[in-house]
Symmetry: C2
Subunit: 412 residues, 2 copies
């Protein structure tokens, strides 16, 4: 937790990854984030992975750290009206709303602005026309599963990282803070829409891949574990460790060749091909069919223990493959020795390594990472402080089941 | 291009994806971005994919759109001093610097702040200790390649999307705009470091996966194309189309079952297992070995043409697999009909579909997407306007080869 955004108040009504991760970033940079949930939990409240013993969702806890939780019955008009009031509450540093609710419906921008004309609303979507999407369906549409995986594999290979959801979250939080900057200059609010599909399309375009497909008329083929356009692949060492090695810059390449004792063999191949592998990274990719076997043989004669320090001293880009469990057992960056991670007790009663902000600010103190709230923990406080409701009014809302507080013992 | 950040000036000295994509986002939201390159091009200047015929890098063009380009000889002290002057030039809305240069060296934060104490410096790194990393080596370290790919495949399966680089870029740009907001309140500058490794570790933590591995003591197994924790997989239709289908919410599940005519079969299986697949998404994952064959058989009896509209009408989350080339040929979101994409002529002379900001702001006009600059296009202008150098001084720098302008005809 850092204090860059202290004073800002952001309201979130959202589920799954993109929208909650967006407000999570803002909360971990110091903003006050009020999350509104359906009483009893929204569609992501029991999403796997769960805490052992059918406990609470580790996914929900992970994505909702450091937020306030308000639980309302959004299935009834009065519950929805309360949500709108919280979203559009006054305050120079408030009126910031993040959601993945449909662009039409009770949280449509033009149904919120009558209550607060300068509202900034960041809406994550699937496709721009409102069709649903998740990472898997977006990836199917942009061709990544057809170029992922072993050469010759029949059919698509999905990758398991929800990359577009995560990227949409970070990008949308950039848009929100940027829009707030603009509002401070002009007073103008806005709705900003970030479809997952456009995040993916724009990203492939930024990487040159749309231009490549359009100008060459060809799809990039599957290439297994090889890096595109330079030298990189996995190799097995004499002691059975599998390493990923990448050589893009001349220094990375030269260091790798020297440490593996391949100078003479590479020079001979360069002579035969009329190629200079140091000067042109792409030739290493073009001729990888010749290079890979030479490197395989060289790696098979060395142990990871001897290669590691040598690679570091020569600026080679490399790393061993390890499972997440192995990383937690043996890698200091996956322990509380990394300031990004600290053991935090969560409302489900479990204590586990929990990430704060991914950024590190050497000059600022990193404040402890607050856990996720119990669902409805802050309902009363928000109704009182943000909406100015009396305790009598809050009691009436509770009795009607419109606003649910964790403290009331209502089943969550 | 939108105008949210107009007035801000950001200086970039960076290569590859994370740092350049960060300033690209800022430029496409309206900031002035001045990119400083080594004269002749930095290590990413010829990165694949290239324009056909050994033309310019489509990757470089894609990541450096809408930026100004200054080319200096950074190998000499005077060239480095010019870079420092540009980075630390005065101005309330300037003094914002993004880089992936080492945390030590001539662009170390404490070597820049004597020139501008309130400088904000966003530094993307590999590992926090300065070791190099790219997506492939970070993924090896966090275990993703061991759970990606076909069940039973021996060895790691790398995925091909540089997700951490892209995410670090977007997240770091959020940090930059947030730090600028804080500076406007307090006057304080900062260095902020964003290591790729911490982006990956924090993301897995936010998704609950570190907690899962720590609390269960087990690594998540490979599961091929299946979605974790709910129902989702690829299926082939009667007409040979392969679809990705995901059912997380009750509505998605029920729609899928109804359209495939599986109501009775599912009800029978639910009776046998004592399970309610509508109410608990995770049971669909637990029992996928029973469910998948039923769905395979049902999909094999229907065509994609009949399923598509039916899925849309019932809110099923789905999409066909297509290559990027097929998407460009047949999908309107991969054409200029999508406002995010427009045909732009780039300095290499080629015109291709080029993405602007991934966000869409319905109330704001989207300005045309400027192409990447020719290397050194803006050297003279920046030296004159930002540093206030006279034409005589600029001429001397050119003659000494310290500052290179595209217009001078120096080979790029």
């Amino acid at each position: 937790m850092y204090d860059l955004l202290s004073g800002l108040r952001v309201v979130e009504a959202a589920s799954f990854i993109a929208a909650p991760s967006r407000a999570l970033h803002l909360a971990q940079l110091g903003a006050e984030v009020i999350r509104i949930d359906q009483a009893g939990g929204g569609p992501d409240f029991r999403r796997w992975p769960l805490s052992p013993g059918d406990g609470p969702s580790l996914y929900w806890e992970g994505l909702n750290k450091a937020k306030k939780s308000v639980a309302l019955d959004l299935s009834r008009p009065e519950g929805r009206a309360l949500a709108v009031q919280i979203i559009t509450a006054p305050g120079k540093d408030a009126g910031l709303f993040v959601t993945n609710f449909p662009a039409t419906g009770f949280l449509a921008y033009d149904r919120l602005t009558p209550h607060r004309p300068d509202l900034i609303c960041l809406r994550v979507m699937g496709w721009p026309d409102g069709r649903q999407a998740v990472d898997y369906t977006v990836n199917a549409a942009i061709g990544l599963p057809l170029i992922t995986g072993p050469v010759g594999h029949p059919g698509p290979v999905n990758h398991v990282l929800p990359a577009w959801e995560l990227l949409a979250g970070a990008y949308a939080s950039l848009c929100l803070v940027s829009a707030e900057r603009a509002r401070r200059e002009t007073g103008q609010g806005r709705e900003i829409r970030v479809p997952l599909s456009d995040i993916a399309i724009a990203s492939l375009g930024h990487l040159g891949q749309i231009a490549e497909a359009q100008l060459t008329g060809q799809d990039r083929p599957r290439m297994g574990n090889d890096l595109f356009g330079a030298f990189g692949r996995d190799f097995a060492t004499a002691d059975g460790v599998r390493l990923m090695v990448v050589a893009i810059t001349p220094r990375q390449w030269t260091g790798l060749v020297v440490i593996l004792g391949l100078n003479a063999a590479i020079a001979s191949l360069e002579g035969e091909l009329g190629a200079d592998f140091s000067a042109d990274e792409s030739l290493r990719f073009v001729h990888r069919g010749r290079l890979n076997p030479m490197f395989e043989a060289a790696f098979a004669c060395k142990t990871a223990a001897e290669l590691g320090p040598a690679f570091e001293s020569r600026g080679v880009c490399w790393g061993p493959y390890q499972s997440l469990g192995q990383a937690l057992a043996q890698d200091r960056y996956f322990s509380a020795a990394n300031p990004v991670l600290s053991p935090v007790e969560h409302p489900g009663g479990r204590t586990y390594l929990t990430p704060g902000a991914a950024a590190t600010i050497p000059g600022d103190a990193r404040r402890p990472t607050p856990p996720a709230p119990v669902l409805g923990r802050d309902t009363e406080q928000v109704l009182a402080e943000v909406l100015g409701l009396s305790s009598g009014e809050i009691g009436r809302l509770h009795d009607a089941g419109l606003a649910v507080s964790a403290e009331k013992g209502v089943p969550l």
